[in-house]
């Protein structure tokens, strides 16, 4: 299994500012994903973080708002830019490891924008 460290675990931010969330995995993984979970809702995929190239964004999510980096096979960051209260959500990183289709998740970042 893969162990994922995600930080910060929570933050309260002012509108208009940006927050960068980090996801560190204890082993090399081929696929890393970023999800958003709005209050009381399910998980919505933001993007697939590709190592060495631009992330692949899902419909409704754009790079200017959610820039993603993935410099290597164990680390990725998601930035939530120019935040508004509507960005208040839990953000989760997830990986597929070892050819499995079982996903492993970080503990999530609970973001509140005021």
């Amino acid at each position: 299994s893969a162990v994922i460290s995600q930080k910060p675990s929570r933050d309260i931010c002012q509108r208009g500012t940006s927050l960068t969330i980090q996801c560190q995995v204890d082993s090399q993984v081929t696929m890393m994903f970023w999800y958003r979970q709005q209050p009381g809702q399910s998980l919505t995929l933001i993007a697939t973080a590709n190592q060495g190239s631009e992330a692949t964004y899902e419909s409704g999510f754009v790079i200017d708002k959610f820039p993603i980096s993935r410099p290597n096979l164990t680390f990725s960051t998601l930035t939530v830019s120019n935040m508004s209260p509507e960005d208040s959500s839990i953000y989760l990183c997830s990986v597929l490891w070892g050819g499995n289709t079982e996903a492993f998740f970080g503990q999530g970042t609970r973001l509140t924008v005021v």
């Binding site: 399910s42 998980l43 996903a103």
Partner: protein, 110 residues
């Protein structure tokens, strides 16, 4: 985009009772997975059932899959207060990210 629809959205039962949650999906899949989430934290994988399987067991969990109806059910037997969580189904359709359902919030009352 979301594919799965779980029902019920919320379920409250007494400790010791069985809990059944259902999931429906729309497209062909390779497998269907169930996850558990405690209090808005990270998700934990519970069980995976492949498209050519009809039933699978893991401890107190029993999962069924009906590909003709595009539906699955998760049964938790002899529930405990510690089973209180949200449960999500997720479908995998081949080289694509998992697509999650809306989830069922289970409350087990001691």
């Amino acid at each position: 985009s979301q594919q799965g629809e779980e029902d019920p959205q919320a379920l409250s039962i007494q400790e010791g009772e069985n809990a059944t949650m259902n999931c429906s999906y729309k497209t062909s899949i390779n497998n269907l997975q169930w996850y558990r989430q405690n209090s808005g934290r990270g998700l934990v994988h519970l069980i995976l059932i492949r498209s050519n399987e009809r039933e699978k067991h893991s401890g107190r969990l029993r999962v069924t899959l009906d590909t003709s109806k595009k539906s699955s059910s998760l049964l938790i037997t002899a529930s405990r207060a510690a089973d209180t969580a949200s449960y999500f189904c997720a479908t995998e359709a081949g080289n694509t990210p998992l697509v999650f359902g809306k989830g069922t919030r289970l409350s087990v009352i001691a």
